[in-house]
Symmetry: C2
Subunit: 343 residues, 2 copies
Amino acid sequence: MSQGTDDTITISLDAMGGDNAPLSEVAGAVETVRDTKGINVTLTGISEKIEKELKKYSFDSSRIKVHHASEVIEMHESPAEAIRKKPDSSIISGLKLQKTGEAQAFISAGNTGAVMAASLFTLGRIANVSRPTIGSRFPTERGITIVFDVGANVDCKPVNLLEFAVMGSVFAEHIYSIKNPTVGLLSVGEEKSKGDLLTTQAYELLEKSGLNFIGNVEGRDILNGSTHVIICDGFTGNIVLKFAEGVLGLLKTKFTDYANRGLISKLKVGMAYGTLKTIMKDFDYQEYGGVPLLGVNGVSIIGHGRSSPLAVKNMILRAEQMVRAKINETIASRIKDIKEFTA
Amino acid sequence: MSQGTDDTITISLDAMGGDNAPLSEVAGAVETVRDTKGINVTLTGISEKIEKELKKYSFDSSRIKVHHASEVIEMHESPAEAIRKKPDSSIISGLKLQKTGEAQAFISAGNTGAVMAASLFTLGRIANVSRPTIGSRFPTERGITIVFDVGANVDCKPVNLLEFAVMGSVFAEHIYSIKNPTVGLLSVGEEKSKGDLLTTQAYELLEKSGLNFIGNVEGRDILNGSTHVIICDGFTGNIVLKFAEGVLGLLKTKFTDYANRGLISKLKVGMAYGTLKTIMKDFDYQEYGGVPLLGVNGVSIIGHGRSSPLAVKNMILRAEQMVRAKINETIASRIKDIKEFTA
């Protein structure tokens, strides 16, 4: 390896994952090794297709490897079934490189459910974590807000929410350098008594957790930046996440409709749209580098199916950060402490 | 009464409800009687304050009455306690006018929880309805989408969701003249198997309901206008509703930040903001006339605390529509049919 130091880490990248695979994946890998030091990439998938794409670029060939996997899990396959039927898929094969020590992290823009299930199956869980979680960063008026869980766990128990809070705090601390991040519980009112059965019980646990718990927050607080980490069950979180995606579609349609009213409207929209686009950069998932699956015994990051080369590169950088920060070690020790008092 | 016909209806309006009460309420009532026929308004609350405000206007005094109620339930009082401690509040007193036949509908921009609880307590439920529901219309790319429940019921059983679907369908049919409205179940994936325990069980009921059920819809579908009625538990619905409110705040902040970058940015934002404002009119709750509480044995509409005179007027018109369309009669007969097959 050209970096040659002990410090170099290897990221296993599912080259068959996204809607533009392997184009975005290969381009993202090449850009990363060009622009950074200390990161090697192993592209996992059908080697013929990957090699063909790689030929378009010149790069330090010691830093990008191809790891052949003969099967591909498609976007709409049932996760459980796909994992069983396709043991040599790029997802499972790519994850296994963490078991053999050939890679320290895995990234995929493929079938989200399959990546979650395969990660859990291949990497296992961190001790004392009952359910891994995926979180998503939201754009806010000021600062950072990350919501956990956004879809890994639709039916939750109070203790799951407590664990999400611990993992989310560690993530905010290590990845965004926020000291003692604030944690809010997503509910329907600020008062402790407001909420459903799940949240009112989770409140009790969070209050005693030693986390920087600020109590209940409401839907509007996700976007005002008042809280670093917001906790909810994965059903609610997933619906909010997809609703937020829908907002951009709605704005686009409304602007187009308005532009079609006449020339002046068209000119105004032209002006407004450029401004809006600049402002909307904050909403761009490609900037954020995918959503991490926290709680598995390794590093696994899931990207949007439409991930561009930039998004892939940002996921690789995020994976590197997670490996170097050793966030799993901190999660393991904090979860252990929490378990002791909730036992 | 000047209208003098059998056809005139009387709306009982909580004059102490909103943040601008009684200003907005009185102005909205006066505007309504000026612009319409066949609607009288009874302003309920502290008569001295209401009379003082009414003196500012000239109007047909036979069409606006004042009904004195000595107590006011404040915005942040606990609903259950407030109702018990303040039996002569404008909310309870105003609702009671439907029991005596002095009014056919009630409207309040006051404490939402108190209005819901007092409505249920005073009016009772339509036969076979286990839980009344509140719905909210969302702006969409095309057409009408109304989401039920948005906060009346945080913990739901599958049969509650079925009832919301029936009531929501009747509302869309009678108020928005949509024939056989489509009904979607809010979930985390389109497939029948996707969802939490509640939604997967509710799916089974909805499938057999005889409603125009189109299956699961996702968060993004709330805004694309693909479904007339979307059903969810009140915890999820409330969080989505408040998140949507937060979107406007976020856009405003981002535009202001961008404007502060310099003169050109400021000019661009000036242009963009006007356009955005026009487009955003669709997001304006004041246009929609409040959210109806469906399933109570009467008409009760809850407005936003910040309701303007226009919002109050639109609530009055919505209440009139609900009374004239006799939507409770249709709900009663449809719910009865549904109960027979789910029994």
